[in-house]
Amino acid sequence: MVKVKQESNLNGQISIRNVSKKFMDAKNTEVKALHNVNLEIKAGELVAIIGPSGCGKSTFLRLISGIDNPTAGELYIDDERITGPHFTRGFAFQNPTLFPWKDVWHNVATGLEARGILKDHSADVDEYIELVGLTQFKNAFPHQLSGGMAQRVALARALVNHPKALLLDEPLGALDALTRMSMQDEILRIWNEQQMTLLFVTHDIDEAIYLGDRVVIMSANPGQIQRVIDIDIPKPRRRNDDIFFHYKKIMLDALGVNID
């Protein structure tokens, strides 16, 4: 069992204020990936972001991580302005992008090594590899892992830094349906144990309802928040509850999909 670390205790509150992001596409025309987005995320909240492709949901996550900077507006975490990437904001792509030249152990250790504290914290590496259930594979190289295993390594790699916030960009998008469902439970379990803010982008409505405390629905051209829905179902949730379908209908309506 992983202990809750002091530093990640009850912070990770994120404010997004009037954020816009424009960039030029190949034809040199301006694209408004995000337009005037506002959102407050509570510390320790689990928020799902869903929307049609091109609605800027990945851009949104990249701005929070600090990989990209907004064209206008400001982002804050615990009242500190986000100006660039920081190890307290972990990130994982849909593609696990493990470093192919490092074995599982060294992939997970990357954050500690980069911060120069690996020597004193190498036990953490083993701890997080155990947390994602890959102790047996700690000496395996990425090409020897299945998609689900690789994604778990990517999670452990982000978690080893005890991030205040974990940002997942369609983390389960490339997995098959069964692996996906077990990974959803795994993410829930990790989120419970680590007590951090968790934001994830998804295409999958069921996944958003199953995991999210809140679901942010975005719309495209320009990328905006269309609606925020509180999912008021106690966890652990059951995928076949009536109330589950109730939320599904609300979300489909909001996304403009007609099921009647």
Binding site: S65, G84, P85, G90, T97, A114, F141
Partner: protein, 316 residues
């Protein structure tokens, strides 16, 4: 039937060697050569292959190796025999340009001390130049791939100076450098530096940008990204450049030695040609081929050790 086929594969080299031995001893020579050394060599090889064939019946691994290479070895032995017949035995090819294998062997036996010294000189030059070229090429390639500003000054040099064959500089270098040795080291380093720089740069530029993004979210500073992400990520491509560099280093080495340096295999080849002792020239060519393939397989070993993570993903 199966065993007959297997045994004939195992013994084919021995039979070919014995045929060679009989023809070598019994057929009269038309050219001058000391046949004794060759008789000894062939007898020795016959003995070796006979021992190998016998022990193959007990050791599975040796048996597989010999059965696999048996055909190739036998053909090489027979081709050498044919060459001996048309040179030493029949005198069909003009001397001194096409000496018999017997005469080439004589060069190894009589001139081994000079040959060995030449190899040592060549290796010293090659290793020194290669290491310097590599040590300069990898950092300059990294910088070129990483810092756009660096390319402002570096690109013209790489684009203009790089593609000129290093050997073209020989006349200038021999004048500009205090010793022909230091000049040759410079030339070899230059010929290695170019491919290593270009391939390192390309390796860094083609690396998936997400690696750097992920590294930054994990707390990596620029130094870490450069040394722990860009460098190992580009390593497979760097090795391509190092193999290319080895080839051009070798060409430069031989050319430099032929033109200015007073020792080494290139010098030996030139010197042997000057005395019309072509059999020595062939002997030197044989050694340099061995040296070149030796260096290449050494580099392959190093690569396999360093790129162990690639195992099963990339083959070349």
């Amino acid at each position: 039937m199966q065993t007959l086929k297997k045994q004939s594969a195992l013994w084919a080299p021995v039979v070919a060697l014995m045929i060679t031995l009989v023809i070598h001893i019994e057929m009269p020579n038309k050219q001058l050569a000391n046949s004794g050394y060759y008789t000894m060599l062939i007898s020795f090889l016959t003995f070796i292959f006979a021992v190998w064939a016998i022990s193959s019946n007990f050791k599975q691994k040796w048996c597989e190796k010999l059965s696999y290479y048996s055909l190739f070895i036998t053909v090489v032995i027979l081709l050498t025999l044919i060459y001996e017949i048309i040179t030493l035995k029949e005198g069909l090819l003009p001397l001194p340009f096409f000496p018999s294998p017997v005469k080439i062997l004589e060069a190894y036996v009589t001139d081994w001390a000079v040959l060995l010294k030449s190899v040592a000189y060549s290796m010293r030059l090659l290793i020194l130049g290669y290491i310097i070229g590599m040590m300069l090429g990898i950092p300059s390639g990294l910088m070129l791939g990483w810092y756009k500003k660096f390319g402002y000054w570096m690109n013209p040099i790489v684009r203009i100076i790089g593609p000129i064959p290093a050997t073209a500089w020989i006349p200038v270098i021999l004048v500009a450098f205090p010793t022909s040795f230091s000049g040759s080291v410079f030339l070899i380093a230059l010929s290695v530096w170019f491919p290593v720089t270009v391939m390192t740069c390309s390796g860094v530029c083609n690396l998936n940008k997400s690696y750097f993004e992920i590294a930054r979210t994990l707390g990596a500073d620029e130094r870490y990204q450069l040394l722990k992400i860009a460098l190992p990520g580009a390593a497979p491509t760097i090795f391509v450049g190092m193999f290319m560099g080895l080839g051009s280093a070798y060409a430069t080495l031989i050319a430099a030695e032929m033109l200015g340096v007073k020792a080494g295999l290139g010098w030996y080849i030139n010197w042997a040609q000057g005395w019309a002792e072509y059999y020595k020239l062939y002997a030197a060519l044989g050694i340099s081929a061995l040296m070149c393939s030796g260096c290449t397989s050494l580099l392959f070993k190093v690569r396999d050790r360093i790129l162990v993570w690639q195992k099963g993903t990339v083959k070349w």
